[in-house]
């Protein structure tokens, strides 16, 4: 397109005005394109400006390693780890929902569905990404939480009391070896009931939202696997199942991974669902009882930005600038993931 010829010959006879007009239009349009670069620069300058002011007040080590986030209640503390933990919980939860489901949908649409079914289901899946996130947040808060909460709390006895024992593997009194006793006690797995704001419904809603991202990019990758490979596999007596799982999916791995990374980066940046349904109480993760992470209220990084933005009459304080510091972290993280996705796609793309 860019190599259009034809402006050469008659060019000389064009009025000077037209030539200049052409040049100005070209520059004007190039300016429009340059504006997008200016937007990126603006984002970087705006975020790092605020973040630099913030790191003048709060040391970067304290920000990155602190385990307490309370910017609005004095004494203000700015440890970002609880927020990172909140975001991670959301990402893990939504990944559990979206990655297998999205991959399955992609395989179905690319390998199994006939064209008519595909023509209906593909736009149907795209709808999931088009619903405003504030409506997802509303769904998660008002409808999903009660539905999920109905069967809770669940207490599942994993090791009953009659199985509990203690076995002295290394009895005391042996020289050089410390005493060691294996104790297996009663263990009851508890999935507690949900708080009004909880990570579980938020991450499920985020997961539903990013399904089409996984499915459409993965499906593109699978569709571009040439038919020769499939036919060769069928020729060797493979079933459709074998072809899908052993030929098409491995050949499309780079696209699938890149879709995963993009979808997760979207989940990291998701704001409204996480704020509305996830709550605004930053917490460090609960370790042995992993389920509790999902039933409790959390605060993700994006939710922290919203919390500070909605707080009234802040002025130019460290808390206000903290918003930009978190924003910079988010921007860097999502940018890195997007670039990673692109690199994966390019690096491991099979050349056919």
């Amino acid at each position: 397109m860019s190599q259009q010829r034809g402006t050469e010959g008659p060019d000389l006879e064009r009025p000077e005005f037209v030539v200049r007009k052409e040049r100005y239009y070209r520059r004007l349009l190039a300016g429009c394109a340059a504006l997008t670069v200016a937007v990126t620069l603006g984002i970087i300058v705006a975020l790092s400006g605020g973040a630099l002011t913030f790191f003048g007040d709060v040391s970067i080590v304290e920000f990155l390693t602190g385990s307490n986030w309370s910017p609005l209640v004095p004494p203000a503390e700015y440890g970002v780890l609880p927020l990172v933990s909140g975001t991670l919980i959301i990402v893990v939860g939504s990944a559990v929902v979206a990655l297998p489901v999205g991959l399955g949908a992609a395989i179905y649409l690319s390998e199994y569905a006939n064209p008519r079914v595909r023509a209906v289901l593909k736009p149907g899946l795209e709808i999931l990404a088009g619903i405003p996130t504030v409506i997802y947040g509303y769904f998660a808060l008002v409808y999903l939480t009660p539905i999920l909460d109905a069967p809770l709390p669940i207490e599942q006895v994993i090791i009953p009391s009659w199985l509990a024992f203690s076995l002295p593997l290394v009895p005391g009194g042996i020289p050089l070896l410390p005493e060691f006793t294996l104790v297996v006690s009663e263990f009851v797995f508890v999935f507690p009931s949900l708080r009004a704001f909880n990570a579980l419904s938020a991450s499920i809603a985020v997961g539903i939202m990013i399904i089409p991202m996984v499915s459409s990019i993965s499906e593109d990758a699978m569709s571009s696997v040439p038919d020769d490979l499939r036919e060769a596999a069928y020729g060797l007596g493979s079933t459709k199942f074998d072809v899908s799982t052993k030929v098409v999916v491995p050949a499309a791995t780079s696209g699938i991974i890149s879709s995963y990374v993009l979808a997760l980066s979207r989940a990291i940046g998701e704001t409204m669902i996480v704020t509305m349904a996830g709550g605004q109480s930053p917490k460090m993760p609960f370790f042995p009882n992993v389920a509790q992470n999902f039933t409790e209220s959390i605060e993700a990084m994006t939710a922290a930005i919203v919390e500070i933005a909605t707080a009234e009459s802040l002025g130019q304080t460290a808390t206000y600038d903290a918003m930009f510091a978190i924003g910079l972290t988010l921007f860097a993280l999502t940018l890195a993931m997007n670039i990673l996705a692109e690199l994966v796609r390019r690096r491991f793309r099979e050349a056919y």
Binding site: R26, T40, L47, I131, I208, G237, S265, T334
Partner: protein, 617 residues
């Protein structure tokens, strides 16, 4: 994709019913479940929301009977009838587009004009259109008219900047420049010899004047053309000094409905006249334009006679009745086939009205709906859910999205044109274009809340706008959807076959002429479709609006520089309301309103695409 060689299948089937078959079937079932689970979950949640918002269970059996008899039965019968007749189906689609598109556009225009007041807008419209119209008229009379296009664009932009933007845009810009200069070590400490206002006036008047003078000298123009210099100086001087402020009191004397007539009725009449002139002759076009104006006046007179404010009816007439009349009149005058298809929307509307009438007469219990006129027309009430309404938020959302469209559409399409048509593959410019493409792909992945921070730093802090005004909200969202607009416009432009361009170049057209006369007309439906879909996404964006602190309470925004309001913000803030009737009633209804706004825009996009397709074949 997958081709299943039948022989392979047969060989495999030769044996007994194997575990493999079962495994394959189970796998397929799992895949189908995976494809459907998200959609089904969403629809279940929609179902809950719908039941909460509309309360269909409260309606009595006779209400449902009435509903089916007056609405469902006639419309589906009509749809079945039309389905088999392509001409009628085509007419039906046109009539639907005219009626409901016109209705949507005129209602949106009405709420926005009602919030801002028609006088200021009328003044701006007149000031901004005088010079391009004059230039266009002059261009018709002279031989060499190649300057007309750029001159019209430049003067319109200048007029907008000088009238609308002096006090806010120009001064803010100078403020920013002054602050940037202030950071420089030596220059920053110098005092300005004159007051800033004077400086701004001098620069914005002198700049254009000197530019014109320099241009004329370079071209060695005739003495007569030097008349242009005082004209430019006068216009820019008047603009900077606030021409609009002087004229405002005079314009304010107009009655409201005359202002609406000028703002809506006359442009629609002119549009109709131009549309008719393209198809028929000038006499007919004058007749059609005159008919529109006369109809407007008749509606106004009628409303005045029964002492109703005619403003709304004038907007409705120009926005809905005129397009419907155009479609119907075109079908009847040109004796097109399938005229019966035109009845479609009227069957639907008539069913609704007749059903409502019968419901009143019989006294059937309708659904216990939260989706009431109160909700749509009242302002918010945080204590009594029955009186809560979201009118200001709806108006704010419409206003923000329309201003955003005006801002991001030209820039996005311009960037797409550059990347597709101008940018070379090699050299500096090629590398620049490559970089821009990568940059756009990355911008599309930046979280929306980060755009909010950009807007906060740019508009609230650097430009010192009041927090949360319509302009900064629109500009922030405009930047947010810019990558989507660019990518969809690029796809539309790329879809234009190269042979058309070659043909145009072959006939000696320049690149811009090819673009304007060949590529853009071919690509514009696709561009519009993608852009409107992007706008639909923007209407639900919440996080950036929260960050630039668009207020939740307060009335409808009164202009570009007054505090905005937005429907998704209303949903967000009320979702934590302790009274259950809000969370399960009012909010569900508001969510439906938001989805309906989005769906309306998507429907417009789909209509455009369909029109494009039918035009193709």
């Amino acid at each position: 994709m997958a081709t299943t060689p039948e022989t392979a299948e047969r060989i495999r089937r030769d044996g007994r019913f194997g575990l493999k078959d079962l495994k394959g079937k189970a796998f397929e079932g799992v895949l189908i479940a995976a494809t459907l689970v998200g959609i089904v979950a969403l629809f279940v949640l929609f179902g809950y929301m719908f039941v909460d918002a509309v309360g269909p269970l409260a309606a009595s059996a006779e209400w449902y009977l009435l509903f089916f008899a007056t609405l469902v039965a006639p419309t589906s019968a009509f749809a079945l009838y039309v389905r088999r007749r392509p001409a009628a189906r085509h007419m039906n689609a046109r009539a639907f587009a005219a009626v409901f598109g016109g209705l949507a556009i005129s209602l949106a225009a009405w709420v926005v004009f009602d919030a801002t007041g028609p006088h200021g807008l009328l003044l701006y419209a007149v000031l901004a259109s005088i010079s391009p119209l004059l230039i266009a008229g002059y261009g018709k009379r002279v031989e060499r008219s190649m300057f007309v296009g750029p001159a019209m664009v430049v003067t319109t932009l200048a007029a907008i900047l000088l009238t609308l933007g002096t006090e806010v845009l120009v001064f803010a810009l100078f403020d920013v420049i002054a602050r940037l200069v202030g950071w420089l070590p030596v220059v920053g400490s110098l005092q300005l010899p004159v007051a800033p206002a004077l400086l701004v006036t001098a620069i914005s008047t002198g700049g254009p004047t000197i530019a014109v003078l320099w241009y004329l000298r370079r071209r060695r123009a005739s003495t007569r053309t030097y008349l242009l210099v005082p004209v430019v100086a006068g216009i820019s001087g008047l603009g900077t000094a606030g021409l609009d402020f002087w004229l405002q009191p005079t314009v304010d004397l107009l009655p409201d409905w005359l202002a609406y007539l000028g703002l809506v009725g006359l442009p629609v009449a002119a549009f109709v006249a131009v549309a008719v002139a393209r198809r028929a002759n000038v006499r007919r076009s004058l007749l059609a334009g005159g008919a529109v104006v006369a109809g407007n006046l008749a509606v106004g007179g009628l409303a005045l006679a029964v002492s109703v404010d005619p403003s709304f009816w004038i907007v409705l007439f120009s926005g809905t009745v005129v397009p419907v009349g155009y479609v119907v009149g075109d079908a009847i005058i040109a004796k097109r086939e399938g005229t019966v298809g035109l009845l479609g929307p009227f069957v639907l509307l008539g069913g609704v009205l007749f059903g409502a009438f019968l419901e009143d007469v019989i006294g059937a219990t309708g659904p216990d709906s939260w989706l009431t006129p109160t909700l749509l027309l009242n302002s918010w009430n945080g204590l009594d859910p029955a009186r809560a309404g979201a009118y200001p938020s709806i108006v704010g959302s419409i206003m923000i999205v329309s201003v955003m469209a005006l801002l991001s559409f030209p820039v996005g399409v311009g960037a797409a044109i550059y990347l597709e048509e101008y940018a070379p593959d090699t050299g500096m410019a090629g590398r620049f274009a490559n970089f821009v493409e990568i940059n756009i792909a990355n911008l599309a992945g930046v979280p929306s809340v980060v755009y909010g921070l950009l807007g906060l730093a740019l508009f609230n802090n650097a430009l010192d706008f009041p927090p949360g005004i319509v302009l900064s909200a629109s500009a922030t969202l405009g930047l947010l959807i810019l990558p989507i607009v660019i990518v969809s416009a690029q796809e539309a432009i790329r879809a234009v076959p190269d042979s058309l361009r070659q043909g145009s170049y072959g006939m000696g057209a320049s690149r811009w002429q090819t673009l304007r006369n060949v590529v853009l007309p071919e690509a514009i439906p696709g561009i519009l479709t993608g852009t409107i879909l992007a706008l639909g996404r923007a209407i639900g964006e919440t996080a950036p609006l929260i960050v630039i602190s668009v207020p939740v309470f307060g009335g409808s925004p009164g202009g570009l520089f007054s505090s905005g309001a937005a429907l998704p913000l209303r949903i967000y803030t009320s979702s934590a309301n302790a009274i259950p009737a809000y969370r399960k009633g009012v909010l569900a209804a508001l969510a439906i309103v938001l989805l309906a706004l989005m769906l309306t825009m998507n429907a417009v996009a789909i209509l455009l695409r369909n029109r494009y397709r039918t035009a193709d074949t």
